[in-house]
């Protein structure tokens, strides 16, 4: 019903305009669909038919593409779309409960994703990339962090409030800014925004305006301490830097007042009066918030968090304005490019820019040869950071040697691993570094055309990178005949449309060409036959961000870091049940324990470290007992995990391994492209078996089948997704077999699998009926003054009875079959 009401009339002239903008070739299908969806919020059939009439896109292709990518919807949606993150970190922090709570709150009918009023549509997304702020959700453009099930009503209230406020128009604050050595730094990448920094910024601006201060507020790159956001750093000449963490809106004015004095008496007076009135009428207690929230770099927690790290990809972390090309140039940016083009570094680009021009073109034969660049990168020992760890130098050599005049370079920014967000952070915070890496690599292989393929869920990253490309083009650093060197590189940004499998390079190429993102068999490798059949270099974002450092500092410097086979550093997103989560960049070879206990500060809530998931849904759980495993491609693979793209999710003893495996398999299953039978059906059957285990319906033979089928899916699937999908299960069976066996017996040792949790009444029961009154599903037999009984078949395990019982007579937990029978007898 609601959907019929929501359907829209399609204006064919508008569709024609969209086609005009994006082109008529088959490769334009995804951008065209994205444009139609952003106009109509879904893809109406008449619109698609119109596109087919007007372009070379066939009905089969448009229908196939429109139903392949999860971003596209063929049915009308509500006014607002709620994207619930179902990434690993959010999952362990209760994302499923959030989904349930949201559906209940919006009174969704069963099997529907849009509420009866047509106001909200709920959709699950693979990962919003805010793992250290889990659970996270996005309503339209607004991200909410720590959005637990109980906070659902308040989130909806807040969203509606914002909607009204935006309808009334924002009040813009205008204030003069002068550079006098002081500045306030605030991180404004996606996780900081989700943590509330945008609202903090508004407060800062207001506080500064009240003081008539001219101190600039500067947006800086990711601060990495995602567990501490919102973070603001105040730099003042003579005072050094002061860091405030977990700042709240109401604290801002006090913090600002502490560092900056009013410019004149009147505004000072007004500010203090305002503060006083707020204090009296605003109901804010007079607690000394500032003290509690103050932290600085010497703070022990911060020091340990940052201490073990080594910043290469994330150089100038938290200090660089990500949107400023000038600042990037001042801080060593394009040093490497200059070295490659001119043979040495003399700050030519920076100097010329100061004068408002371009540097002299490099004299003929001055720069590095293609082979020189490749040799330098080979010597550094750099391996692909996308997961498989293929030596980057070798890949460059392949593409370089491949015959053909036209070659492509692609930056793979389709970070899909739920639980990893370093690529997003790098694109948001260090976009120029990525572009510089692409320039150098493109020169080395002779590619003059390139694409950055960026996940649909990363709008800020896409926006920043687009702007950075424009900035670079204007500065003569991108485009044709770069700095007069005769070398060219034209870059375009392509947005993904929501498919994990597109991180696989052949699927990514299919997607760029406007096809369903289905992988194809290798060989031929993209290095020989890639985009449009041409030799194509595909590198991951993080790999590209390391290139400039290597060229600038020399391969030897890079090779000094890390282990024998794995050189340099790796960025991880550390999340889960850890005290200090966030992005960390660590030298290869650091052990799991050093990361968890050292950098991460151990497990939160005083629980026990059980395992760490490395490599996301393609990786595996390394048990705590193997904490001395070094972070190294081979060592991790031997342990049954995988470097993957670098997601690390820490589990404590309240997490169930079987349930985690079920989660991962349901992820890979829903992301399987469906091309080959072993993956398409195999992941489904694995998922079903794991689901049955978590429901206590497992059979003895299931463990054997899991192992057998896991091996078949691994050996016979076409691409990396299927070949690695069974890893979590196979590794878990290796280390935690007894936990699987317990589930076959109907017992969940971690007490996590709801259907395996029993609620029962013990002798303490006084027959007060309070529990039965609290029960929402009437599953408790309660005669006054007689011992009550809980019917488990209807019980929803909501815990209400346990809370209501005044005499501690209700127990909950997972029991073995024998224990249950024993209890029933007594």
């Amino acid at each position: 019903m609601a959907e019929a009401l929501l359907a829209t009339e399609v204006d064919s002239a508008e569709i024609d305009r969209i086609v005009e903008t994006h082109g008529r070739g088959p490769e334009a299908v995804i951008p065209i669909l994205q444009a139609i969806q952003s106009r109509y919020r879904y893809l109406p059939t008449p619109a698609l038919m119109r596109v087919c009439e007007q372009t070379d896109i066939t009905p089969a292709s448009i229908e196939g593409v429109a139903t392949f990518y999860s971003q596209f919807r063929r049915d009308p949606v509500g006014k607002h779309v709620i994207s619930l993150c179902d990434g690993t970190a959010c999952h362990v922090k209760g994302a499923e409960d959030v989904h349930e709570a949201m559906s209940t709150e919006l009174r969704m009918a069963k099997g529907r994703d849009t509420d009866p009023k047509g106001e909200f549509t709920i959709r699950k997304v693979a990962c919003l990339g805010c793992c250290s702020l889990a659970p996270a959700m996005q309503i339209d453009g607004v991200t909410y962090a720590h959005a637990g099930a109980d906070s659902v009503p308040s989130i909806l209230r807040d969203f509606k409030k914002r909607e009204i406020a935006e309808g009334n128009g924002k009040t813009e604050l205008h204030r003069k800014v002068r550079d006098n050595g002081a500045e306030i730094r605030i991180g404004l990448d996606s996780c900081c925004v989700a943590g509330g920094t945008d609202r903090i910024e508004v407060e800062i601006e207001r506080a500064l305006a009240e003081l008539a201060s001219d101190v600039p507020v500067k947006h800086v790159s990711c601060v990495h301490m995602c567990h501490q956001v919102p973070v603001i750093e105040i730099i003042k000449e003579g005072e050094g830097s002061s860091l405030y963490v977990k700042v709240r809106e109401e604290d801002v004015s006090q913090i600002i007042a502490r560092h900056f004095k009013p410019k004149n008496v009147i505004s000072g007076l007004r500010a203090s009066v305002l503060r006083w009135t707020e204090h009296v009428y605003g109901g804010v207690g007079s607690r000394d918030i500032v003290e509690r929230h103050e932290g600085d770099l010497r703070d022990e927690r911060v020091a340990t968090f940052l201490g073990g790290q080594h910043h290469i990809a994330t150089e100038h972390r938290g200090a660089l304005d990500p949107a400023s090309l000038d600042e990037y140039l001042r801080k060593g940016g394009f040093h490497a490019l200059e070295k490659v083009l001119y043979g040495d570094y003399k700050g030519r680009i920076l100097l010329a820019r100061h004068k408002g021009g371009l540097p002299d073109p490099p004299p003929p034969g001055a720069g590095w040869t293609q082979q020189q660049i490749i040799d330098e990168i080979s010597a550094s020992g750099l391996r692909g950071r996308g997961g498989a760890g293929f030596p980057t130098g070798k890949k460059l050599q392949f593409v370089h040697d491949a015959p053909g005049d036209l070659k492509y370079i692609i930056c793979n920014g389709d970070e899909g691993d739920p639980g990893a967000f370093m690529d997003r952070m790098i694109l948001e915070s260090y976009s120029f570094r990525v572009l510089e890496g692409m320039l150098i690599e493109a020169f080395s292989v002779g590619a003059e055309e390139g694409y950055l393929y960026i996940r649909a869920e990363y709008p800020l990253a896409t926006k920043r990178i687009r702007q950075s490309i424009i900035d670079c083009e204007q500065a003569g650093l991108l485009g044709d005949n770069i700095l007069g060197s005769g070398r060219s590189l034209r870059l375009k940004v392509k947005e993904g449309a929501g498919a994990f499998v597109c991180g696989e390079e052949t699927a990514l190429i299919a997607s760029l060409e406007g096809r369903r993102g289905m992988p194809s068999i290798r060989p031929p490798y993209p290095a020989i036959q890639g985009l449009y059949g041409r030799p194509t270099l595909i590198n991951n974002v993080e790999t590209l961000s390391l290139i400039s450092w290597i060229v600038r500092n020399g391969a030897a410097e890079f090779a000094k870091l890390g282990t024998e086979r794995s050189k340099g550093t790796k960025v991880f997103s550390l999340a889960g049940k850890i005290r200090h989560g966030g992005l960390i960049e660590v030298p290869m070879g650091i052990t799991i324990n050093e990361i968890v206990e050292g950098i991460g500060g151990g497990i939160a809530d005083g629980r026990k470290f059980k395992a760490i998931l490395v490599g996301g849904p393609s990786g595996g759980c390394i048990p705590a007992s193997m904490g001395d495993t070094p972070v190294d491609y081979e060592a991790l693979a031997e342990a049954g995990a995988m470097m993957g793209s670098g997601g690390m999710v820490v589990l404590d003893d309240s997490d169930c391994i079987v349930e985690m495996c079920r989660y991962f398999l349901s992820f890979t299953q829903s992301e399987s492209c469906g091309k080959c039978a072993p993956c398409r059906i195999g992941t489904m059957r694995l998922r079903e078996m794991l689901t049955r285990l978590t429901e206590g319906k497992g059979r003895e033979c299931d463990l054997e089948y899991l192992e057998e089928l896991g091996k078949v899916v691994k050996a016979q699937s076409l691409c990396g997704l299927g070949k690695t999908a069974p890893n979590p299960v196979l590794t878990a069976l290796r280390y935690f077999r007894e936990e699987f066996e317990a589930h076959v017996k109907g017992f969940c040792p971690a007490g996590k699998c709801k259907p395996l949790i029993d609620y029962w009444v013990n002798d303490n029961c006084i027959g007060c009926t309070l529990c039965a009154q609290a029960c929402p599903v009437d599953c408790i037999d309660s005669q006054p003054f007689k011992m009550h009984y809980i019917h488990l078949d209807t019980c929803t395990r909501c815990d209400a009875c346990l809370v209501a019982c005044p005499v501690d007579a209700i127990k909950a937990g997972s029991r073995t079959k024998e224990e249950r029978e024993l209890c029933l007898k007594s």
């Binding site: 009905p59 292709s61 448009i62 229908e63 469906g674 059906i681 992941t683 059957r685 089928l709």
Partner: protein, 502 residues
């Protein structure tokens, strides 16, 4: 020219040749489902995997190009085990009946749906042939059979069960008349078989053996053949019906020796001396073994006929020097019992239903053609040439290894000439690629992804409109009968004849 070693046989092939083609050149069989000449490899079924001995990895042979010095093995135990697992995965979501449930239930394994189609198309001679070959006594059984076949009839989901028994009885009228084709036998093999007992069991065995060209002599102790059936009252079974059917057995060339009771070892020894094989179709004359075969009598006449037919087949195999082993078990995909909700679902989604006439009155007045038109064609349109069935049989794939949770898909899509059954589709995409190759205006699309992937016609056009130029190739290429012509059965056997073709 690159050289490759496959299972220790070396071969030199043209550059760009796939491992599959190299293997075929060596006449090494590698199973495939989704491979079709003239279309790029789909890499969907992954049945054609072989082991690359240089890496130890399994690679799909259809799309792996031979490189010089390559060494592969195609038939190692673990490679086959791996293929079997994949077949089991595909089967786990394969919804369809290889043979119709009525045929499965019939103890004499008569091919009921074929009879229905022959009646519907007006090929009454053909129908007579089918019923007589299936039941030997279609008229008699038309009276006495309890018709277990009518029980599982899926037509029940729409209105009521098909009147199978009435139909084969009506057809048998025709069979009893002169029907030269029906009584045709292959040239004489020169082998002679004695059958002891002239009841319906013995006569059924005799029918099968005559149809193989062997000479048959039936020893019957009574004056007339028919055994127990003779004792039935006329209202249960009119004598002329039985007599006419025995008459046709005689006309087939079976030599009846009445009043010849075989007693004791002496008689038997003499028979064993004279004949190449003996079938015992009565109680307690001799134990089976050597060239003696047993056809057990049964109180259910149709079951007795079935036993006779089986004994005939075994004796024929013995005479043709085929090692007599247990029948190879053919892979049978079965829908089995349908839940009420499933039946409703099927009824609701079957686009075919408008063309199905409703049930009519029973009895001799029944319009056979109308009645036969109600048949749902539950048997698969590719029951003989289905690739999945072939490989599942060869690899001994298990049917119900995995418990599944998805809803079974019984849809039959298509009101026109082409029918599409998504439940049988293995999602290989061959039809999509073939339609694309032919430059269809509409063509087919892969919809959705992962497990929910399915083949559909874009913008809800019909299959007939989508496959204007490419329908025949799509039907031929489809590894199962997911895409098939409504009125054309593909009976070109890609496998040895199934038991049902007896």
């Amino acid at each position: 020219m690159p050289k490759i070693v496959i299972n220790n046989h070396e071969i030199e092939v043209a550059p760009g040749t796939s491992v599959l083609h190299a293997a075929r050149q060596l006449e090494i069989e590698v199973p495939t489902l989704c491979y079709w000449e003239g279309v790029r490899p789909m890499n969907s079924c992954m049945l054609c995997v072989v082991r690359d001995l240089r890496t130890g990895q399994l690679v799909p042979s259809c799309s792996t190009i031979v490189q010089d010095g390559m060494r592969v093995e195609t038939d190692a135990g673990d490679v086959c085990a791996s293929r079997k697992e994949v077949l089991e995965l595909i089967i786990s979501e394969h919804i369809g009946d290889c043979e119709a449930p009525c045929t499965h239930t019939c103890p004499a394994s008569m091919n009921i749906p074929v009879m229905m189609r022959q009646i519907y198309e007006g090929d009454l001679d053909g129908a007579a042939y089918t019923v007589t070959n299936g039941l030997v006594f279609p008229g008699t059984l038309g009276h006495v059979c309890p018709a277990p076949c009518e029980n599982p009839c899926r037509r029940k989901a729409y209105d009521e069960t098909m009147k199978i028994r009435t139909l084969h009885r009506n057809v048998s009228e025709r069979a009893r008349k002169e029907n030269p084709e029906l009584l045709e036998c292959p040239p004489d093999t020169g082998r002679r078989i004695a059958i002891i007992g002239g009841g319906c069991t013995g006569m059924a065995a005799a029918w099968v053996l005559r149809k193989k060209g062997h000479g048959v002599v039936i020893f019957e102790k009574e004056e007339k053949a028919g055994g127990k059936l003779r004792k039935l009252k006329d209202e249960e079974l009119p004598k002329h019906v039985l007599d006419a059917e025995i008459e046709s057995v005689t006309r087939l060339g079976v030599d009846f020796r009445y009043k010849s009771e075989i007693n004791g070892n002496g008689d038997l020894d003499a028979i064993l001396q004279e004949f190449d094989a003996v079938i015992v179709a009565c109680n307690g004359v001799a134990k089976p073994g050597g060239k003696i075969f047993e056809a057990k009598e049964h109180k259910l006449t149709v079951k007795a006929v079935g036993n006779g037919k089986t004994a005939g087949v075994w004796a024929d195999k013995y005479l043709s020097s085929i090692t007599v082993t247990k029948e190879p078990e053919f892979f049978e995909s079965k829908i089995g019992k349908m839940q009420r909700a499933e039946m409703e679902n099927m009824r609701e989604h079957n686009e075919n239903k408008e063309s199905l006439p409703v049930s009519t009155i029973d009895g001799p007045l029944l319009d056979s053609r109308v009645e036969a038109g109600r048949c749902l064609h539950c048997d698969c349109r590719k029951r003989v040439s289905c690739g999945l069935r072939k490989w599942a049989t060869d690899y001994g794939a298990e049917k119900k290894k995995y418990l599944t949770t998805e809803e079974r898909d019984f849809r039959i899509i298509g009101r026109g000439n082409i029918l599409f059954e998504p439940g049988k589709c293995i999602r290989c995409g061959l039809c999509v690629a073939i339609a694309e190759k032919h430059g269809e205006d509409i063509g087919l699309a892969m919809i959705g992804r992962g497990f929910d992937l399915e083949i559909r016609v874009p913008f809800d056009h019909s299959f007939d409109d989508a496959l204007v130029k490419s329908a025949a190739e799509c039907v031929a290429a489809c590894p199962t009968a997911a895409i098939a012509f409504r009125n054309k059965e593909d009976l070109e056997a890609c496998h040895t004849t199934t038991w049902i073709e007896l």
